[in-house]
Amino acid sequence: MNDETFLNERVDVVAVFGEGLNPCRPIKFRRPSGREITITEIGLRHPNVQGKRMVHVFDVTDGGADYRLEFDSERLTWHLKMEADHYEK
């Protein structure tokens, strides 16, 4: 079975706001433990409407694990919601 860890960590994120189809691209983030993770690929970005609040969900990877980052566009905060770094063989 898939080994996912569900979290709700407030994280610091470096993101680039540019042009194109995906104008917001998180580059790296720092977890409360101080560990820095460099994002190598954004798998998918999708919006998740919570009432009238819009949360942008970024599924990203650093090449070793998958992470789910959420950007709350009302509060302008980033949270790490999920980490999946191990898949049972």
Partner: protein
């Protein structure tokens, strides 16, 4: 009309390959190339909603229990479905398709049809196969590199869908009068959409065992001997590329079902889950501006028995409490040892204020309260306000992927 339709093929069917599994593999690169199964609940007894091509290659099939899939494919990774993600991909696909024609119909969350009749001169002048390849590329550019789709092109919806199923994954095929014999010759009867179980038996009963024999059958045989109705004529035309399926389907019923999260729940706990389903059905019904007159409640037991009860009211209803009170009343006769419950409302009609008596204060008040609750839930999120009775049920009864209908996406 015994001739094939020789007009230019202008119907394109697009089908995302193993949609939910592909979306998860797109979102989570570590899953790519691995056998993945999408499930609605993290238990071994849950049925697979979708499996990735890697899992399918190991014999895993949709509908199979996760436990069975693990026997065939011990490395399979079960992922809980994430409807918001799939809804996003659905809307991206819809946006792409609408760039090519104003006549786009989504058949379900992962497939749709573009009708190129009446499209602009710039589009009409292009080869549809080129447009098909362009859409494939745009899926990769605008959603992600792991996204693939099948494209089928023909003169009607049925043959376009058949074409889309010929070379999975990532195929593109065109069915024309010139190649239809070859195409049908490579298929089984049950490969044809709409031919399964009963229809297959009907065809077999008159000696039709292959799609080519089906194609060779005359319309009188299909009408009188096989289908005993106009359905036979439709099949005759469908197989020859004439359009018979371009019909808007009206919403007939609104319902929800729920497989109990564990066995041995008390009667009151089951009623709470039924209440939750009623609130969900009421919300969906009001979202479609409909009211119902009929209510149908069913249950399946651990011994695979099916129980149901229904009631038809004189006045239409759409409020949660009205739905629940009726469902609760019907549910009194339900058996014990349940594994699944469900409810649906039918005999739908447009919900209009005029249908209510102006002198019935209670109905008017109920309507105002429900309307206020719907407004609050729309602003602050689903189930911000709901009955206290269903306070704890949200953990279990979650919103799942709506198959077969795109009304709630």
């Amino acid at each position: 009309m015994n001739e094939f339709n020789h007009e230019r093929p202008l119907i394109m069917h697009i089908d995302l390959n193993s949609c939910f599994a592909s979306v998860e593999q797109q979102a989570r690169p570590m899953l790519r190339g691995r056998p993945v199964a999408i499930v609605n609940r993290r238990t071994d007894t849950t049925a697979l909603v979708t499996a990735s091509y890697e899992a399918k290659a190991m014999g895993v099939k949709v509908g199979m229990k996760l436990r069975e899939a693990k026997i065939l494919c011990p490395d399979i990774i079960g992922i809980e479905s994430d409807p918001a993600k799939y809804r996003f991909v659905y809307h991206k696909l819809l946006d792409i398709m609408r760039d090519y024609s104003a006549h786009v119909t989504m058949k379900s969350i992962d497939e749709g049809v573009i009708d190129f009749h009446d499209s602009t001169a710039a589009i009409a002048g292009r080869d549809l196969a080129d447009i098909g390849y362009e859409i494939k590329q745009r899926l990769k550019d605008e959603i992600g590199v792991w996204m693939r789709c099948n494209v089928g092109i023909s003169t009607n919806r049925f043959l376009a869908k058949t074409a889309a199923g010929l070379h999975k994954p990532d195929g593109l095929d065109v069915i024309t009068p010139e190649n239809i014999q070859d195409v049908l010759g490579s298929l089984k009867l049950t490969d044809l959409t709409g031919i399964a179980g009963r229809n297959e038996k009907r065809l077999n009963s008159v000696g039709i065992f292959t799609p080519l024999q089906f194609l060779a059958a005359d319309s009188v045989t299909l009408h009188k001997m096989v289908f005993a109705s106009v359905v036979g004529d439709w099949w005759y035309k469908r197989l020859r590329g004439w359009e018979v399926d371009d019909v808007a389907t009206d919403i007939k019923r609104v319902g929800r079902q729920y497989v109990l999260e564990r066995f041995g729940l008390s009667y009151d706990q089951i009623l709470q889950r039924l209440h939750h389903l009623c609130e969900s059905v009421g919300s969906r019904m009001r979202g479609q501006h409909k009211a119902a007159r009929g209510i149908y409640v069913y249950a399946k037991t651990l011994d695979r028995q099916y129980w149901h009860a229904s009631h038809m009211s004189q006045l239409p209803f759409c409020h949660d409490q009205t739905i629940y009170l009726q469902a609760q009343q019907l549910f009194r006769d339900a058996p014990t040892r349940l594994r699944e419950i469900g409810i649906h409302c039918y005999e739908l009609q447009d919900d209009m204020d005029s249908q209510l008596s102006l002198f019935n204060d209670q109905i008017v008040r109920e309507r105002q309260v429900t309307s206020a609750i719907d407004d609050i839930n729309a602003q602050f999120g689903e189930r911000t306000i709901h009955s206290a009775d269903t306070l704890n049920t949200g953990t279990y009864v979650k919103q799942k992927i709506p198959f077969g209908s795109t009304r709630y996406l």
